[in-house]
Amino acid sequence: MFFELSEQQTMIRNMVRELAEKEIAPKAAELDRNEEFPDEAIKRLAELGILGAIIPEKYGGPGLDTVTYAMMIMEISRACASTGVVTSVHNSLCSWPIMYYGSEEQKDKYLPILARGDRIGAFAATEPDAGSDLGSLSTVAELNGDNYIINGTKTFITSGPRAGIVIVFAVTDRSKGTKGISAFIVESSYKGYKVGSIFEKIGIHASLTSELIFEDMPVPKENLLGKEGDGFKIAMATLDGGRIGIASQAVGIAQAALEESIKYSQARHQFGKPISSFQAIQWMLAEMATKIDAARLLTYQAAIRKDQGARISKEAAMAKLYASETAVEATNNAIQIHGGYGYTREYPVERLYRDARITTIYEGTSEVQKMVIASSLLR
């Protein structure tokens, strides 16, 4: 099988690349330095339909396939990894579960808002004491008349301070373990919804990450996503798709690191020659390029399988594992190739290095990805 983008996908790639190169990349360093949310970029992404990329036409989105979506996240992240993850979370972790598990009323109400980018989407599963182990969630939702009353604290929420619509996971029946977890569509305007502390991170500075605190927050019962007890299933399926987004983000970051390295190694002269003529540099570049291609193909494979309707836990985990580890390695090598300059803020590789680091952690650490892969092998 030979993988090639279609004519239409190529046009979309060109458009997104132009946007990324002309409008997103030039501001990436400054937003990173100021830890400033990419409001302008997000607005443009919304105008061009990219923010709601996977939302069907019926609800005001372009209804793109996962391969095209992954390619777009790669292009955006190549310019700014923070903008990449905000877009990925908005699509994969917020819009997608509503598309697949939402009622007709929920879709009619929320998808057009998300497609237009009127509200930013977020996903709130992680808690201070419960990361990938969703079984130990402490946030609870109790039915009281027409509302569920939610209490609890969520942490490491991407876009937390800016989010308007959040998929929140809470325990509705403690006795049932993971089968007692439910998912809710929560609006940031609800009473008792609070943004907690904003984290100071190593990288992806422009994507704001915070706690979300719910204090006796009433959520209309029609905002229950799926049925009571569907939460765990929804979270797992959603994260499978999310991992394609993060794998794509990692590929984008790594690609940027490779391109910067090629450019620098050809321009930088030592001992009377460009450093790209030294084998030590050539080997690094060759390995980076090979691994990035492999990561991209694994990502596209997971995306194709997802579009075919297959279960993609293993493929998505493989793509996310390999792409994120590749991003960390490639950005590390990029700094090495840049030498002293690479360690300074004068060159973008230091930002790429910091941004890449999170990709082996969020939406499941590399170790969790290996658990997922192994469990599917040993089933």
Binding site: Q8, T10, M11, N14, E18, L48, I50
Partner: protein
């Protein structure tokens, strides 16, 4: 108003590498794109249509694969496209004749917009040639265009002066890249462009089967890139004087 935008598919000149042994540019396998300023021409056409109404047709003389690139302009907002298949031997004379004949086959145009030049050749001939063939006015090098139903006003950069001109229709306008910022098509527009028609016409379809070029390109030579490395380092006055003489001889003091 019937508006025609002339657009050309070119090799991406930024991607051209030079053959290290022959010094010649290597043109095989270079990615192709719509010539940059043609996008400004298309954007201006769309703006005029938004203001005074009408239809925007993208007209390209090119190889069959240009169809794919024309879709970018349809995605931006042009209504339809016509691709005239380029004959084996084509110079500006042939291409502009094909364009003017195609416009006549369309039933004419009120406004024809071209780029001031294509980024590969940068001759700037096509616009004035088409205007000449159709015997209509030409307003070249426009950095601002104001279209009204009965007349068009243009501010033009003629290098040594700025000229404001106006014309009745039909008129041909060539634009510089300062004229606007071409819009990026949205995903919905890209998806929608697949449904917009692009007709493909052969030279015989427009009664131009036997055109002969007036010029043939017999070689593309390389450009010598070595530097002179003449450094004056003795008496300062003498050095300065020698440098000024050299610059004058190079024709760079005018």
């Amino acid at each position: 108003m019937n508006i025609v935008v002339c657009a050309k598919q070119v090799v991406d000149v930024g991607e051209i590498k030079v053959n290290p042994s022959s010094g010649k540019p290597m043109l095989e396998g270079i990615p192709k794109k719509i010539s940059d300023i043609d996008k400004n021409a298309c954007e201006e056409a769309i703006k005029v249509r938004e203001k005074v109404g009408g239809k925007v047709t993208v007209l390209t003389v090119g190889t069959p694969d240009a169809k794919e690139r024309m879709k970018e302009l349809l995605a931006m907002g042009a209504d339809n496209g016509v691709l005239v298949t380029v004959p084996d031997k084509a110079d500006h004379l042939v291409t502009s004749t094909l364009i003017s004949k195609a416009i006549q086959k369309m039933g004419g145009a009120d406004l024809i917009i071209c780029a001031e030049a294509s980024i590969d050749q940068f001759s700037g001939q096509i616009g004035p040639r088409v205007a000449g063939l159709l015997n209509i006015p030409q307003l070249t090098y426009c950095y601002k265009v104001t279209a009204e139903p009965q007349k068009l006003t243009a501010e033009r950069n003629l290098g040594d002066r700025l000229v404001t001109s106006e014309s009745s229709y039909p008129v041909l306008v060539t634009v510089t890249k300062e004229v606007n910022q071409p819009r990026l098509p949205s995903l919905m527009q890209i998806l929608g462009s697949a449904k917009k028609p692009i007709e493909v016409w052969g030279t015989s379809d427009i009664g131009a089967a036997d055109l002969k070029p007036g010029i043939e390109t017999i070689d593309i030579k390389g450009v010598a890139m070595s530097r002179k490395n003449i450094v004056f380092k003795d008496d300062l006055d003498e050095s300065v004087s020698k440098l000024a003489d050299s610059l004058s001889k190079e024709g760079l003091l005018g």
